[in-house]
């Protein structure tokens, strides 16, 4: 059906991941609530990587959906 869902998933998680990572790295300074871990930065990067992988899948798969 026309649209490869990996595009919106990839783009959305890249956007949200980047937002979280930048927020964690630049804006937020107190990490007491998350046990002293800068969870926004770490998790933002995880989301970013996930988003990039999704986009790579979409680009490589082209318009053809995967078979499995």
């Amino acid at each position: 059906m026309g649209l490869d869902i990996r595009w919106p998933i990839g783009l959305m998680f890249i956007l949200i991941g980047a937002l979280l990572a930048v927020f964690g790295a630049v804006v937020q300074s107190d990490h007491a609530i998350s046990l002293g871990i800068n969870i926004n930065l770490i998790w933002g990067i995880v989301l970013l990587i996930f988003g990039v992988l999704m986009l790579l899948g979409a680009v490589r798969g082209g318009k053809k959906p995967p078979t499995a």
Binding site: M1, G2, L3, M12, L19, V27, V46, F50, P65, A68
Partner: protein
């Protein structure tokens, strides 16, 4: 509960999600040309997408909230709802049943019943299903609006309207495809939104082993955490999945025996839901070919098997945290109004430490909740010794309420561990699952209503254009009815109990009808119809004559006469399902034998197992063969059961 102030980052994440969801609907709108595009996705979607949507349609927010709640109440045994109550049925659907659903070209499960039996069976199933989907979607929206109201201080009506509005737009634009695509997005949102919460929670309790050690000390005296206040269990009651169940209903917090667990949950309820419920089966029917359709439930089974670690473990973490005094956490108590807290604070201040019984009563009355006497007494004493601030007293009161509001577990953990940013992500995940719960139900409703009720009974033989427009109108009607159902659920405190009760009556026997229809060619339409009817009636009868311990006759059962008392509501449900299934099965067999067949073997080709040529999977790779994949998944599932034995 004080509303939380969302920060700009949280709003940005929320808005980004909504924008993408609407964008998907918008992009898909131009592909929607026929009723089949809109209502059944024209059978065009790849397996991994239908597979994740299949699991996501089931993983509504109520399930997320409910599984964490059960994880706290019952521990790892809650995983039986996955390892016993889902995986085997999903594999059965893929290997044995999907060929008939997909191969018969039926557009819905009621339509399969029409092809296999007759209009009566289809009508009964379609009407029951349509009503259920509306109420299910209404319950979901009511819960969402209440959550936004309590958590963020949004107005209930506004929250309901805006969330329904978003769902309406994307479903109306992109139909079933939109719902399925959004469900995939939601799947990743939930997994990626909750994983960090589980990680932080586990880290805080000191890791998996420390959590289990804490749970073992709770199990031998659950009253300390206000769990299951009357009974003490063996140390492994919360940390072993099978040993406490095998030891008998008195030895596990669920209060169930192994037979009800395996037959009632593992066979009747689970197969009845996963193999016949159009909400999930519809996702597999949208797949692009037979192999894809059969593999859909198998793709779904992989994450399903591991979901307990995401959705049940948070409940177990919550209990472990509650048992650790230095963590300053408890499972949230029932929500008490600020007004009652103020009254109770006054009661603490005016109480005399000498007469602690009177103090406890006065404070408990002011709060309107059951309180732990020792905690109130020490609070009153502490206040008498040196004046405490109102905030300190309120905290003390909060900790002394001797009841748990288990549905609050998941939110309380999100609040405890998520800084702004991550909080927005987790909240969006929760919101996403509520909205897709509504979308899933509405897309199942519009298909069944348009094809199985409108086209079958009201307006036959019109152009496809006519049914395409009807499908869209019915979508709008479905959303409006769901909102009505949400207000109904809001109005009556026990609305949810009643609705779930009726679901139980209707769902318990249905699998017998499908099973006999698919695997016994002698089953007749009359047998199926009367058997199903009798099965539904027998569940109502069973319920009216039985009750669970500690429940009063009424909506929980026993309103005619109490013949049997079960150790728990769960045991009552499992036995009810077993009973209704057996009645439906036997009635259908007996009546079928007594009535003449109206369909010849030729009519039933492709609908009944023995009359359908077996599918030959020669030309597909071994890792895509449903039978092979199914066996592998079953082995993994058994291993999981053994690990947590």
């Amino acid at each position: 509960m004080q509303p939380i102030q969302l920060q700009w980052i949280d709003y940005t994440i929320l808005i980004a999600y909504v924008a993408f969801v609407l964008g998907i609907g918008w992009t898909l709108a131009r592909y929607m040309k026929t009723s089949s595009d809109f209502l059944t996705s024209a059978r065009s979607i790849p397996t991994w997408v239908t597979g994740l949507a299949f699991i996501s349609a089931n993983l509504g927010a109520l399930e997320l909230v409910g599984m964490a709640a059960s994880g706290a109440k019952y521990g790892i045994a809650t995983a039986h709802f996955y390892w016993v109550g889902a995986i085997p049925a999903m594999i059965f659907l893929a290997v044995f049943m999907m060929p008939f659903y997909y191969g018969s070209k039926a557009r819905s499960t009621p339509e399969y019943l029409k092809m296999r039996f007759d209009e009566r069976v289809r009508g009964l199933n379609a009407i029951a299903f349509a009503v259920m989907t509306i109420f299910a979607s209404g319950i979901s929206m009511d819960a969402l609006a209440k959550l936004l109201n309590q958590l963020l201080g949004w107005d209930y009506n506004f929250a309901l309207l805006i969330c329904s509005g978003v769902v309406l737009i994307y479903v109306l634009k992109g139909g079933l495809t939109s719902a399925i695509y959004t469900e995939v997005l939601q799947f990743f949102m939930i997994v990626l939104g909750f994983a960090p919460v589980v990680y932080l929670g586990l880290k805080d309790v000191g890791g998996w082993h420390a959590m289990n050690t804490a749970l073992q000390s709770v199990a031998v005296n659950p009253a300390t955490t206000f769990l299951n206040s009357s009974t003490n269990f063996a140390p492994d009651a919360w940390t072993s999945a099978w040993k406490p169940v095998l030891a008998g209903p008195a030895h596990n917090p669920m209060g169930v025996d192994w037979f009800a667990m395996i037959f009632g949950l593992g066979f009747v309820l689970s197969f009845g839901y996963w193999c016949t419920n159009f909400l999930v089966v519809q996702r597999a029917m949208a797949a692009k070919n037979m192999t894809a359709a059969r593999n859909t439930p198998l793709v779904a089974a992989v994450p399903k098997m591991f979901f307990p670690f995401l959705v049940i473990v948070p409940g177990m973490i919550a209990v472990a945290l509650t048992s650790m005094p230095d963590k300053n956490y408890r499972i949230p108590p029932p929500i008490v109004s600020e007004e009652n807290y103020a009254k109770a604070i006054d009661a603490v201040k005016s109480a005399s430490p000498a007469d602690s019984a009177a103090a406890v009563k006065a404070v408990g009355d002011a709060l309107g909740e059951k309180v732990a006497a020792d905690k109130i007494a020490s609070l009153v004493a502490a206040n008498a010794a040196s004046k405490l601030s109102d905030t300190q007293i309120k905290q003390g009161l909060y900790n002394s309420i001797a009841e748990n509001y288990y549905s609050g577990v998941i939110l309380s953990l999100i609040k405890k561990y998520c800084p702004p940013g991550l909080f927005g992500l987790a909240l969006t995940a929760l919101l996403a699952s509520f909205m897709s719960g509504m979308a899933g139900n509405v897309t199942a409703f519009n298909t069944v209503f348009t094809y199985d009720l409108y086209q079958a009974y009201f307006v036959k033989g019109k152009s496809d254009r006519h049914y395409f427009i009807t499908g869209k109108v019915i979508t709008v009607v479905g959303i409006i009815l769901s909102m009505g159902a949400a207000y109904f659920a809001k109005q009556y405190d026990n609305a949810m109990d009643i609705i779930q009760l009726v679901f139980g009556f209707v769902n318990a026997p249905i699998f017998a009808t499908f099973l006999l229809g698919m695997f016994w060619k002698r089953t007749t339409g009359t047998g199926a119809f009367l058997g199903l009817f009798g099965g539904i009636a027998s569940s109502a009868l069973f319920h009216s004559l039985t009750i669970a311990q500690n429940n009063l006759p009424g909506v929980k059962g026993g309103y005619v006469h109490v013949l049997q008392i079960f150790p728990s509501e769960m045991a009552q449900n499992f036995w009810l399902a077993s009973f209704a299934f057996t009645v439906c099965f036997l009635l259908t067999v007996v009546i079928s034998l007594a009535t003449a067949r109206t369909k010849s073997d030729a009519d039933l080709k492709g609908l009944v197992y023995s009359l359908t040529p077996k599918i030959v999977d020669n030309n597909i790779p071994i890792y895509q063969k449903p039978a092979v994949v199914g066996v592998v998944l079953l082995i993994v599932c058994v291993i999981l059961n053994l690990i947590f034995w």
